[in-house]
């Protein structure tokens, strides 16, 4: 068997794919954070909890209601998005005039509540979720076997990221959004319903987290704790990339996923901390982040 640096090429590419899968989750989650931050100036700490909610709902849907994966891929993000809209209307909207830190604190409290609720209902043990039939099995690429589900996660995540980019950068709705981000008062004066756009933005941002959660359901163990560990890494990703550009956050997410996957092969002990170490280095040399603009 071919080897690179003493590692079988099969294992190397396997880890590379796994890294890309993780990177796709980082990309979708940090994209959601960036979209919300751009509009609301709030870092959504509940993002990880809502990602977990997406995965848990997928499992609950199959376990209790008999709703399959494909329907949940549609329903999951909608449910999570509706939860987000409720959060925005009931709580977040009262905080816009205050220091941005209050938004972080509020969503942190919400994250604790959501996580605690699911933990109380379903315990901390991981739940398995089987891969849908159409996506089980693997492609034989000659030099490696590529599990279909992993390929699907990467393709689906990138499609959603691309779609988000297109909507925000190339459509009329996106132009309104960007205008409202730049100058909400003036945009409102032109007759655009800015509060509605803010609400929809938050709903859409957390729906992205829900979507990532549904995608993650068959790929990982579904547990109420899956969100909080991930979100801290995603925060580091956001600090590294900066939240200035959409494509920037997607690229940073993917890149860090790949680096993490490679480190897992060559230096397994460091795989849990490598993203944080990169963040420390970036802070030393480029404090605003790779794609960031200092406000």
């Amino acid at each position: 068997m071919t080897e690179i640096f003493g590692v079988p090429i099969q294992a190397l590419f396997g880890q590379l794919m796994l890294g890309l899968v993780n990177g796709s989750f980082y990309a979708v989650l940090s994209l959601g954070l960036a979209v919300i931050f751009g509009m609301l100036n709030i870092i959504n700490f509940a993002h990880g909890a809502l990602y977990m909610a997406g995965a848990m709902l997928t499992w609950v849907g199959l376990e209790y209601l008999g709703i399959g994966y494909w329907w949940m891929l549609l329903l999951g993000p909608i449910c999570v998005g509706l939860i987000g809209i409720a959060i925005e209307r009931l709580m977040l909207q009262w905080l816009y005039k205050l220091d941005h830190l209050y938004g972080l604190l509020l969503t942190f409290g919400l994250a604790l509540m959501i996580e605690g609720l699911f933990r109380d209902l379903y315990g901390v043990a991981g739940q398995p979720y089987s891969i849908p039939e159409e996506l089980s099995g693997a492609f034989n690429l000659g030099f490696m076997f590529l599990p279909k589900y992993r390929a699907w996660v990467i393709v689906a995540s990138l499609t959603v990221c691309l779609f988000t980019w297109y909507v925000i950068e190339k459509t009329r709705l996106g132009a309104y959004l960007r205008a409202a981000t730049e100058n909400p008062k003036l945009t409102q004066a032109f007759g655009i319903n800015v509060p509605l756009m803010v609400m929809l933005t938050y709903g859409f941002g957390v729906a992205l987290a829900g979507f990532a959660g549904v995608l993650a359901a068959p790929a990982t163990q579904i547990s109420p704790l899956m969100g909080s560990n991930l979100i801290i890494v995603v925060f580091a990703v956001v600090v590294i990339g900066g939240m200035g550009s959409i494509l920037g956050s997607v690229l940073t997410g993917l890149g860090l996923g790949i680096i993490e996957g490679m480190i897992k092969v060559f230096w397994p002990e460091a795989s849990a901390t490598v993203v944080f170490m990169i963040m420390a280095v970036v802070l030393m040399f480029r404090p605003a982040g790779l794609f960031g603009r200092e406000k």
Binding site: F37, L283, M284
Partner: protein, 311 residues
């Protein structure tokens, strides 16, 4: 300290001295450790305007270092406490000098991420005992007093708390503290007045980390163990909650907040199980939405209104 604060401080100290006659000393010591932790945190959030979301890591690292120093190196108790505090101070300097490169929300995310990195280090490092934690730490003796007796340790803990609290008050009311407040209120103006803002922020961060470390070191002495949960982000969240609930930027707020939260957790732990997290989250949400000045802040505001009406 102004006269009212001094009077309140002395009354509080008097109460603490007689508290063991009617309260369980271990619980009071736990409250004092977390109160010191929250006061140290308040120095940063309340007076400098920096929200650190990774403060548990200073509590945790000091807890581990003190535990290791007392158990494995068999150092005297006082040196053990110093070692823990020193380690947290150094770590505070390392994390602080990275984190102050960003502001506001990013500062919170950076501290959280760096703290998580250290948490993983503790999880893997052999000396921490991983998931089991560091157990059976001896309390040792101090000036010939056997600290294994809860009551002896109690007065040591009270002394540590009272001393640190006084130190924090001195810091806040010194010219240094005034500059910190200036940074909180208007950073660009503080810069234009010629202050080296980064230096002051770092100093505040290191001081806060060191005192949080002292709280962690003392905590190890009280419970005779150090665990991963001391360094977990949940604990970082808890100290934010204590400060917020008590009243950030107030002198006694963190003490009140820590007392309420620790007592609440103590009471609820065996009654509602994992719903404790939900209740903590709900308190967070309520505080942010309706109660932003915290218990002490709101009471003071109420008091001032009443005085004002009379005049």
């Amino acid at each position: 300290m102004n006269r009212r604060v001094t009077v309140a401080y002395l009354i509080g100290l008097g109460l603490l001295l007689i508290a063991p006659t009617f309260l369980y000393p271990i619980l009071v010591m736990k409250v004092l450790c977390f109160a010191l932790f929250a006061c140290a945190f308040n120095l940063l959030l309340g007076y400098t305007g920096l929200l650190s979301f990774g403060h548990a890591v200073f509590l945790g690292s000091a807890a581990y270092v003190t535990g290791h120093a007392l158990k494995v190196w068999e150092l005297p108790t006082l040196l053990g406490l110093l070692a823990g505090t020193g380690a947290a101070t150094l770590l505070g300097w390392a994390i602080g000098s990275l984190a102050i490169r960003r502001q506001g929300i990013y500062f919170a995310m950076v501290t959280l991420a760096l703290a998580q990195m250290v948490f993983f280090f503790f999880l893997q490092a052999p000396f921490t005992g991983g998931e089991d934690g560091l157990q059976g730490v001896p309390r040792g003796t101090l000036f010939g007093l056997d600290l294994a007796e809860d009551i002896n340790l109690y007065y040591l803990v009270v002394a540590i708390f009272a001393g640190s609290f006084w130190l924090i008050q001195r810091a806040i009311h010194s010219p240094f503290g005034q500059i910190l407040k200036a940074i909180r209120e208007n950073e660009p103006r503080a810069i234009s007045l010629g202050y080296d803002v980064a230096k002051y922020k770092l100093l505040a961060f290191v001081l806060s980390a060191g005192l949080a470390g002292l709280a962690g070191a003392t905590k190890t002495l009280v419970f005779k163990f150090a665990t991963l949960s001391d360094a977990h982000w949940h604990t970082s969240g808890e100290v934010v909650l204590m400060t917020l609930l008590g009243g950030m930027g107030t002198v006694f707020g963190p003490v009140v907040g820590a007392t309420v939260i620790v007592t609440l957790q103590n009471e609820l732990a065996d009654k509602v199980g994992s719903l404790v997290t939900v209740i903590m989250g709900a308190i967070f949400v309520i505080c942010v939405l309706a109660f932003r000045r915290g218990i002490v802040g709101e009471s003071l505001a109420l008091y001032k209104r009443m005085i004002g009406q009379k005049l």
